[in-house]
């Protein structure tokens, strides 16, 4: 969100070691006794938490589609929410979500691309390209955002939202 350094309980070395063990499948061999919910009435895996179900039609992270339904208020509003969270308490307060996104895509995103060197310049070129299809541009940008520290911690869906809004923005206001 606002911080590029992730909050953690354990130290980075321990977490890196644990992650490596996890990825190597060592955790699959471990077995702990079944832990019943302390209060069965509030066990999210046993009860039907209707309000915690993904809204109908929403895509899960592993099943994202570029042809998602346009959110209420438009992509820029949705993407503005993500950008607002990245700048939590920052200088962007006081504008609405769409304005925040417009400001970010014209300034912050531009700076991000330039700071990222050749790859960043390529991202900027692709997102403003009039030759590639919108889907290709969105997919490219979404993948590139995933490599950027600010966006690493965001969900794939949020990165996709920002990418769609950015492509839409540049399509409507070509250089």
């Amino acid at each position: 969100m606002s911080k590029e350094i992730a909050n953690h309980i354990l130290d980075p070395e321990t977490l890196a070691k644990m992650n490596a063990e996890f990825l190597a499948g060592e955790y699959d061999k471990l077995d702990f006794p079944e832990i019943p919910a302390l209060d069965p009435a509030s066990d999210p895996f046993e009860r039907n938490f209707e309000w915690l179900n993904e809204p109908q039609g929403a895509k899960t992270e592993s099943n994202l589609s570029l042809s998602r339904k346009r959110p209420e208020g438009g992509w820029s509003k949705e993407a503005g929410r993500v950008v607002r969270q990245l700048a939590l308490g920052g200088s962007l307060a006081g504008s609405n979500d769409s304005q925040i996104f417009r400001k970010w895509v014209e300034e912050g995103f531009f700076a991000l691309c330039l700071a990222a060197g050749a790859k960043g310049e390529e991202a900027l070129m692709v997102v403003r390209s009039t030759e590639k299809s919108s889907d290709d541009r969105v997919e490219f940008l979404s993948r590139w955002l995933a490599t950027q520290p600010q966006f690493k911690q965001r969900t794939e869906e949020e990165r996709l939202t920002v990418a769609i809004a950015a492509v839409e923005h540049f399509s409507n206001s070509p250089p």
Binding site: N7, F22, I35, S42, F45, E50, W51
Partner: protein, 235 residues
């Protein structure tokens, strides 16, 4: 009946956060949390209402014009930083959108509730703990609810006093338990539907550690203020 599960050591940490910010712990649920949460709910409704006005191509200036108010006042409201009180909500419905309340298309109860819970967690984090480094989506919140029911997670409270080895063992247990439950849930979904193509989602130690570091205290502050009657646990 019990409300949201609260782990003892997490509660101690959460109470310390409140005291560090000059908040009377005893008064927190009734006098502070509830007021803040109700304001957050109002804010969420307001945001959905503003989305509706935007769909009608009304910007801040047009909205202010129709209400007979200054553009800067309305701009402050729509920015979300200072959402207006409920009376302005009704004024916009009646005087600008000119709709019956029952005809408002501002999202369903479940969406509004989750938005309010998420926003409240974000505010609790910023107000009493520290800005989170990751977002709280439905998946993370569901896992958080379950994690807080695993006794070993108590040892992961930031100031639990547990040794590194104990914390490491607790995180390992949490990861194994959660992944086993995710796999079980996924298997049961596959049984019900032939069209599931993706794999079961797995959650690694680093990810889980970050979620707890970011949201464990805000969750506990949230749980301390909730009453069972709201049905946050099971709507």
């Amino acid at each position: 009946m019990a409300g949201l599960t609260i782990q003892e050591l997490w509660k101690k940490d959460a109470e310390k956060c409140l005291r560090d910010h000059g908040v009377n712990v005893k008064e927190y649920p009734n006098k502070i949390f509830r007021h803040k949460f109700f304001v957050t709910i109002g804010h969420v409704y307001w945001e959905h209402l503003i989305a509706m006005t935007e769909r009608q191509k009304l910007d801040d200036i047009e909205l202010a014009d129709r209400l007979g108010l200054g553009a800067s006042t309305v701009s402050r409201w729509t920015s979300g930083v200072n959402p207006p009180a409920a009376d302005k909500f009704f004024a916009v419905v009646l005087l600008v959108l000119k709709r019956d309340l029952k005809d408002l298309d501002i999202g369903n109860q479940n969406e509004l509730l989750f938005d309010a819970v998420r926003l409240q967690h974000e505010r609790l984090a910023v107000d009493y703990y520290k800005p989170p480094s990751c977002s709280l989506d439905r998946f993370v919140f569901r896992l958080l609810l379950r994690l807080m029911q695993i006794p070993a997670v108590n040892n992961l409270a930031p100031n639990s006093g547990s040794s590194k080895a104990v914390k490491e063992a607790a995180l390992k247990e949490a990861v194994v338990v959660i992944n086993k439950e995710l796999q079980r849930e996924f298997d049961s979904r596959v049984k019900q539907s032939q069209n599931v193509r993706e794999k079961a989602r797995k959650v690694g130690p680093e990810e889980l550690d970050e979620w707890l570091a970011c949201w464990g205290i805000p969750y506990t502050l949230f749980a301390m203020g909730c009453t069972r009657a709201w049905g946050i646990e099971d709507v």
